[in-house]
């Protein structure tokens, strides 16, 4: 099962490499990873997605929690949550294609953020599934470059991850 793990950790040198190292060292795989400082600059918020059964995930979270730099951790997939990913995608757009791509972008509530006579650069935000669907509907033939931020997530309702 796919899991979204959110971590609050010390914004210190080496902290990220310990988190990432733990995955490779124990044979776990990271699918996506995002990290940036929070409103408190001494803390970073890291979100990662991984795939594994419950037992494996329990081991992962226990071992992450053991890292000295990890202050708090939550498995967002345990409860209701919001997840978002940002994609920037550069596509061939000339002639009749231009209108078609524009329409498609509107349907997915994306924005064209850069234009040349033959190219659109589109920004689109949503769940990973939505981004996949957009890529599919544009079609491989038109795509020049795809950049995805990796998943960020936050719990719904009153729950907060803070110290």
């Amino acid at each position: 099962m796919r899991r979204i793990v959110s971590i609050l950790m010390e914004n210190a040198p080496g902290a990220l490499s310990r988190v990432v190292g733990l995955f490779s060292q124990r044979g776990y795989n990271i699918d996506t990873l995002t990290v940036a400082p929070t409103e408190d600059p001494t803390l970073s918020r890291l979100t990662l997605t991984t795939v594994g059964d419950d037992h494996k995930l329990e081991q992962i979270t226990k071992n992450l929690n053991k890292l000295i730099d990890v202050v708090k951790l939550v498995d967002l997939s345990d409860g209701a949550h919001i997840e978002r990913e940002l994609m920037l995608i550069k596509v061939k757009a000339s002639g009749a294609q231009r209108a078609e791509i524009k329409r498609c972008t509107d349907i997915f509530r994306g924005q064209i953020v850069d234009v040349t006579s033959t190219i659109y650069t589109i920004q689109i935000v949503g769940t990973a599934d939505k981004l996949d669907a957009f890529v599919q509907s544009i079609g491989e033939a038109s795509i020049l470059e795809v950049v995805r931020s990796g998943v960020s997530g936050i719990a719904r309702g009153e729950k907060v991850l803070s110290i």
């Binding site: 950790m9 010390e10 040198p13 080496g14 490499s17 310990r18 190292g21 060292q25 037992h55 329990e58 081991q59 226990k62 071992n63 929690n65 053991k66 000295i68 730099d69 990890v70 202050v71 110290i163």
Partner: protein
């Protein structure tokens, strides 16, 4: 005002560090000069940095204090890696001070530069790279705090040379305490869970207490013994837990696991309640996890949540320090209205005694003593008698290690010092050195094989320099015996690279060269008298080269793969 180098040594003093094992080099020279100019912290010059780590490790295992080592950058640092990994696997508290190239050269492939923090990352509890000299006191405080609390482990502090420069001085103050928002070691166990556990224990009909290194680390042998006595339950120890319960006591079943006793492994298999305490269900213990203790409800007490339900799932998990959990359990047991089911426990003991009669390691002769050849097991038995069971036994890795674990009955904790998790050949001699430094008057023994001893044999010279009268008992079977045993069992005795072809040194001459005494024993009749002669030389290093039966195997041995804990080979011809 102090320089970084002086602050480092002052901080060690203020932390209560009595001695540092180490080896100098370019990047560490400011620190070594700071050592020269003071008297509080003693430095022991080893002959190889790996030995510094093992010595600090042995020192820690014997005393419970944090072991400390100091090395230079590059090769000095990389030489410690095996020693750090050894300590990490056995959860030994250790602080590794490694010098680093000057900070503005880091990343430039400077002379003797290695990324020590990176290279050691998977084998440390935590690491620090000093980024400013003023951080040194607080980093040292944190390093010792992290190493020694919770599940103990090694901590690396990497110190760029410029941060120890004598020309830059700083205000020094050693912090009195540490608080880290991101590190809060577990303390007391959950009261509800402990209550559940005690109910299970009191209702048990076939209980076993399976205790490990955590009881030794947590200095809780007395509490464990008190609980076991109160309940009249059988106790088995892991290799790391030996000595936590008195080895000569009637309730002790011996070690469990791969080379555990018939009675310990069989009792585990048939148990209905298991109290696992400070033990981590290692694969050397469980054999096939899905067949492990099929009838048992498992209570698992461990300070590290990641140890619980890792390989075998626990019915009653308790995260907490052994000491507080055992205290809580004892007070519940003492105040319980109804005690244990005495009749059932009586039947259980009758069954266990019957197993002991049948194949017991200590109650029947498990090895052949009729021949001329010296049996390695017998050497350990004689060692036990001559040292009155009261020596520190520091072991290397191989068959001799297993014979020592089986036949030297440890009545006290911290007397059995060996590398269990990593199984590091070469550990024994430097570890013994560290133990002898910690207790100058103690009887310290290194039990070894002619293979293992050659992995850190250079330390014989350190023993000379510091007058450390370690006794080295070498069970010389002229082979990498443990490897040979597997080759006998699984490869039709094809001894691929496990023999030395008459290349072994003359150990007596070698000892003489270092200023020590060498004794060779070839006759069984001489064993006891030579052993007595060896231990009578209280102030000398003595190496006893005992020529033992080469063909001996370690038994019992769990049958793998797919075996349960009751499936054992008992000798070359018998199995359960």
């Amino acid at each position: 005002m102090l320089s970084g180098g002086d602050m480092l040594i002052r901080a060690l003093r203020d932390e209560g560090v009595e001695c540092v094992f180490g080896y100098p080099g370019g990047a560490a020279l400011h620190i070594y000069d700071a050592i020269f100019r003071q008297k509080d912290v003693k430095h022991i010059l080893v002959r190889h940095e790996q030995a510094a780590a093992h010595a600090a490790d042995g020192y820690s295992r014997a005393t419970g204090k944090v072991g400390t080592l100091l090395v230079t950058s590059g090769p000095g640092a990389t030489n410690t890696i095996t020693g750090i990994a050894t300590a990490h696997m056995d959860s030994i508290p250790m602080v590794v001070l490694s010098a680093q190239v000057v900070s503005d050269k880091i990343g430039e492939d400077a002379f003797q530069e290695t990324d020590m923090v990176g290279i050691s990352r998977p084998i440390v509890k935590h690491s620090f790279l000093v980024s400013d000299p003023s951080e040194i006191p607080s980093i040292i405080k944190k390093a010792y705090y992290i190493a020694s609390t919770g599940r103990p482990g090694p901590v690396v502090v990497d110190i760029p040379k410029d941060h120890t420069d004598p020309s830059r001085v700083f205000e020094y103050q050693y912090p009195e305490s540490v608080k880290m928002r991101s590190y809060v070691p577990a303390g007391r166990g959950h009261a509800g869970q402990i209550k559940k556990a005690v109910q299970l224990l009191l209702g048990a009909k076939r209980p076993v207490i399976y205790s490990g290194g955590g009881v030794i680390q947590g200095d809780s042998s007395e509490l464990l013994t008190e609980l076991a006595k109160k309940l009249n339950f059988p106790v088995t120890n892991t290799l790391m837990g030996l000595g936590a319960y008195p080895g000569t006591d009637r309730q002790f079943l011996g070690m469990l696991g791969m080379h555990g006793t018939f009675e310990a492994n069989t009792a585990m298999h048939h148990a209905d309640v298991i109290l696992a305490i400070g033990a981590r269900f290692d694969d050397r213990v469980t054999n096939t996890p899905s067949k492990f203790c099929p009838h048992a409800k498992i209570i698992h007490v461990d300070i590290d949540p990641a140890s619980i339900s890792k390989t075998v799932s626990a019915d009653v998990p308790i995260v907490g320090a052994v000491e507080s959990v055992l205290k809580d359990m004892l007070s519940l047991v003492n105040s319980a209205e109804q005690g244990t089911d005495q009749e059932a426990i009586g039947d259980w003991w009758a069954q266990i005694d019957e197993w002991r009669q049948r194949h017991g390691l200590y109650h029947a002769n498990r090895f052949d003593t009729s021949g001329e050849r010296i049996k390695p097991q017998e050497v350990v038995q004689v060692l036990h008698e001559v040292t009155k069971g009261d020596a520190y036994i520091c072991s290397d890795v191989g068959q001799h290690q297993m014979f020592a674990a089986q036949y030297y009955l440890f009545d006290k904790p911290r007397r059995w010092i060996n590398s269990g998790g990593l199984g590091t050949m070469g550990f024994g001699l430097p570890a013994a050195m560290g133990v002898q430094i910690a207790d100058r008057d103690a009887c310290v023994v290194c039990i070894t094989g002619e293979g293992s001893i050659q992995m850190c044999i250079q330390e014989l010279s350190t023993l000379t320099q510091y007058n450390l009268p370690v006794k080295i008992i070498c069970l010389n079977n002229q082979a990498l015996g443990m490897v040979r045993q597997w080759q006998d069992m699984q490869y039709d005795s094809r001894y691929s690279e496990s023999l030395y072809e008459d290349s072994l040194p003359d150990f007596e001459k070698l000892m003489e060269a270092y200023g020590h005494v060498g004794i060779t024993v070839t006759q069984r009749d001489d064993l006891r008298s030579k052993m007595e002669e060896c231990f009578a030389m209280k102030d000398r290093v003595v190496f006893m080269n005992v020529m033992v039966d080469r063909s001996e195997h370690v038994y019992p041995m769990l049958v793998a793969p797919n075996g349960s804990m009751r499936d054992m080979l008992l000798s070359k011809t018998e199995r359960t």
